[in-house]
């Protein structure tokens, strides 16, 4: 089994002038602890990228640096063509930010707040991107029409989250950061949210960087998946590309003579060929499933952690 280390090149590298996000060798150190050890990735306009990784892997730190909320220790970062550490209000107007926990503006009414926050973006309206998003359309897009006159503090968890998303996109951002956007959503709200993300990416050409722990969601929404573990990008590619990286076992199901069979095999093609050679027409309801994103993810993270443990052990031995 091969161990995956370092960033993996995607099928086609993105030309430099098409990069909305360009992060190279990003490092972050708190005191004497290194949190990010050289993160490198980029994103093109209209792309949806999911950033996955175990808690404490550095996802939030990475996003906060890109949002301009945190200063990096080292590395080159370009967000919409500017360095987020020094970029101004005009740059800020082109970004949308949805963070994990908000409890703000509890006394405001939904429509009032969205209308007010929209006025900050009016100065940055362009013929190509009229800002802000008309408030009633926006409320409808996130499904809060019935709550438009309600106080923010009285919204349910899922409604509150929709409002957070609405505030994130009120300025029609060119780049949107979503940190665990669907926590607290019921399945219907989740589906509507996924439709909204597709609309933003496909119709408005918004570039989206989202973090989630829901791998199914990542697979549905993202064009590309980045896995961050131990302060490094350990994988970068579409869900299919990632599953090819892992020599996982595929699951094969079939029926024969009225009985159901399940078998796991590393080489599914060879197994199926053998199956038909033996039983021929007796095989029905054949299904072959490649390792799911969840399995791929677990394997990649486990290998990365094992690799780090081995590296630590060897350093320890060298020290002896």
């Amino acid at each position: 089994m091969t161990t995956v280390t370092g960033a993996l090149e995607t099928g086609m590298p993105i030309p430099v002038d098409e990069r909305v996000l360009d992060v190279r060798d990003l490092r972050m150190r708190y005191g004497t602890t290194d949190v990010l050890h050289g993160v490198t990735f980029s994103a093109r306009r209209g792309e949806v990228i999911a950033l996955l990784g175990p808690n404490g892997a550095g996802k939030t730190t990475t996003i906060e640096i890109l949002e301009g909320f945190r200063r990096r220790s080292a590395g080159d970062v370009s967000v919409l063509g500017e360095d987020p550490g020094v970029a101004g209000e005009k740059w800020r107007a082109r970004l949308g930010v949805v963070l994990q926990s908000w409890r703000d503006h509890g006394k405001w009414r939904v429509r009032e707040l969205l209308h007010h926050l929209g006025t900050y973006y009016a100065d940055y309206s362009t013929p190509a991107i009229p800002r802000p998003w008309p408030v009633d359309d926006l409320i409808e897009a996130v499904g809060l029409t019935a709550q438009a006159r309600q106080r923010v503090g009285r919204l349910s968890g899922g409604q509150r989250r929709r409002l957070d998303v609405a505030i994130g996109i009120v300025g029609r951002p060119e780049l949107l950061f979503l940190d665990e956007p669907t926590v607290g959503f019921d399945p219907a709200a989740r589906r509507e949210f996924h439709d909204l993300v597709h609309r933003l990416a496909d119709v408005d050409d918004t570039t989206i960087l989202l973090t989630t722990h829901d791998l199914d969601e990542a697979e549905k929404l993202a064009d590309r998946i980045l896995i961050l573990a131990g302060g490094r990008i350990i994988a970068d590619g579409s869900a299919d590309q990632l599953s090819l990286l892992v020599a996982g076992e595929s699951e094969i199901r079939w029926t024969r003579d009225g009985s159901r069979y399940v078998h796991a095999a590393a080489d599914a093609t060879a197994f199926v060929r053998e199956l038909f050679r033996q039983y021929g027409d007796g095989i029905a309801d054949l299904e072959v499933r490649r390792a799911s994103l969840e399995e791929t993810y677990m394997t990649l993270v486990r290998e990365s952690e094992a690799g780090r443990a081995a590296a630590a052990a060897s350093t320890f031995e060298e020290a002896l």
Binding site: Q100, L117, D123, I167
Partner: protein, 282 residues
């Protein structure tokens, strides 16, 4: 220049909304009414007592002093409180994530606190003008109010903002109450400062509460009452000087501290504070 007009436009809108919210939220209304009730209860229990050496009711002397205290309290405590809660619930971070949001936020807070000060002051003043004998305002008095109230506001609000930036969490800000109440006790608000030891008088005169109380007394009380004041005068020049010093110091220090505080705001900082708050509850 457009960013200044944007900050003014969004800030006034923001302050207007938030001021209206305080008028429609029961807890906020109570905060307007409670000090008025407490103040008049105090004055009621002072009936029959007079300012030593005069025939002016002690209550009539206390009321204007308390107006001054009220302005200092709103400027210091309310501003600090608002800042701490806005930081904890993410309002400030939201402002940071919005273009020109921080300037809009600051202008909004000034408008809000200005409105709150005005409402509280009027609530306390109007009954006094009708119910308490010995209060009167002449043309000079109105003029004094015209510079005293804004100056008191500018002298205390930046300091409140600094305190709100330095303290983390609403619990800690409660610790501020203790020294503040102590300061009120020695600032001649409820009892003339003349009867306190000299060094205590010296300490009181460093802080804006004494000067705001003195200034308010000069507006509402007859000049004969200067007999019960230090230096036997309303000392307007010194009042302007001391409050002006606080204002300048505050306006120099506050932007630095606020900028430092705002720079540190991030999603994980808000989340960490939230976690701490949850631990306190459970």
């Amino acid at each position: 220049m457009s960013s200044i007009s944007t900050a003014a436009r969004t800030g006034f809108a923001r302050g207007g909304y938030e001021f209206r919210h305080t008028l429609t939220t029961p807890a906020d209304l109570w905060q307007y009414i409670f000090p008025t009730i407490a103040l008049y209860a105090t004055v009621f229990f002072m009936r029959g007592a007079t300012v030593p050496g005069t025939d002016i009711a002690l209550g009539a002397r206390t009321l204007p002093s308390a107006f001054g205290m009220g302005i200092a309290f709103t400027g210091l405590m309310t501003v600090a409180m608002l800042l701490v809660t806005d930081r904890e619930d993410g309002t400030l971070l939201r402002a940071k994530a919005t273009p020109n949001g921080m300037s809009g936020y600051l202008v909004g807070k000034i408008v809000l606190v200005g409105g709150m000060t005005a409402i509280s002051f009027l609530l306390q003043l109007l009954p006094g003008l009708f119910l308490i004998d010995g209060l009167h305002v002449d043309a000079v008095g109105w003029f004094t109010l015209l510079w005293l109230v804004p100056l008191g506001f500018v002298a205390t609000m930046p300091i409140g903002a600094v305190l709100g930036s330095l303290f983390d969490g609403p619990r800690n800000i409660g610790l501020l109450m203790l020294p503040l109440v102590g300061l009120v006790a020695i600032s001649g608000i409820f009892y003339p400062i003349m009867s306190l030891p000299g060094w205590v008088q010296g300490v009181a005169q460093v802080f804006p509460i004494y000067w705001l109380g003195l200034g308010m007394r000069s507006v509402f009380l007859p000049d004969a009452l200067t007999a019960a004041e230090l230096g036997h005068s309303w000392r307007h020049l010194e009042t302007v000087g001391m409050l002006g010093l606080w204002a300048v110091a505050g306006l120099v220090v506050a932007p630095m501290i606020l900028r430092r505080m705002a720079r540190r705001e991030s999603g994980s900082a808000v989340a960490a504070r939230r976690e701490k708050a949850m631990q306190r509850i459970s």
